[in-house]
Amino acid sequence: MKLSEIVVERAVVPELQATDRDGVIEELVGSLVEAGAASETDRPVLIERLLAREQKSSTGFGRGVAVPHAKHASVSGISVAIGVSRGGVDFASLDKQPVYSVFLLLSPEDQPDAHLTAMEAIFRHLSKDTFRRALRQTTNVDEIKTLLVEVDAQNLGG
């Protein structure tokens, strides 16, 4: 699965306005709703699920990244929003460090395998220092899109 194919372009936020975890999740869900990847009606329940998941255990897996995720019956396909925080956000991360890159994933309820494949696609990139650094250096949506296409192409080679 290619990251550039599951990232919703209109839900890429190069400079998050929110400065706390809950705010970032609300902002990214809002961008997915505006992009048409989730419905306005489901906005509250999606936010609620994402926050409930964070409360069980943080998706701030360390190294400055967080991957909040939720499944919901109303979601028609795997959708990813990307948010970059310039100042860093406290996500109660495993390594207790602030988070700069947030990949928010929404999946349909009945496709656990596709959900895992999407997580793999996200982490394949996020586990690389070069990708995390490059992402933090981007300043706009186009640069982020270009970066995603580039790293997807590199992965095809190996």
Binding site: V65, E120, F123
Partner: protein, 91 residues
């Protein structure tokens, strides 16, 4: 000399090795001195890193090879095999 042991495990829980099971696995592995590696085909990851464990994309039915190496390797491997076998206590 450090002991090196390995076992093949099959993911049995419906949702596969997603975030929470990966974290239980890492927590269990991290309680031991032994180094832990997990392989799926040619993908080989550190069993003490959640981020690396997610790279396995191990769906239900996936077979993984778990290797532990160190003075408490056998005890560590036994606990990990049990954890996966119980479906990470999810269902």
């Amino acid at each position: 000399m450090a002991e090196r042991v390995s076992a093949i495990v099959t993911i049995v829980n419906q949702l596969g090795l997603h975030g929470r099971p990966a974290m239980s696995f890492v927590d269990t592995a991290s309680a031991y001195h032994a180094s832990v590696t997990v392989c799926k085909g040619e993908t080989r990851v550190d069993g003490k890193s959640v981020m690396e464990m997610m790279l396995l994309a191990a769906t239900k039915g996936t077979e993984l090879e778990v290797c532990a190496e160190g003075d408490d390797a056998q005890a560590c491997l036994d606990e990990l095999v049990k954890l996966v076998g119980r479906g990470f206590d999810e269902e």
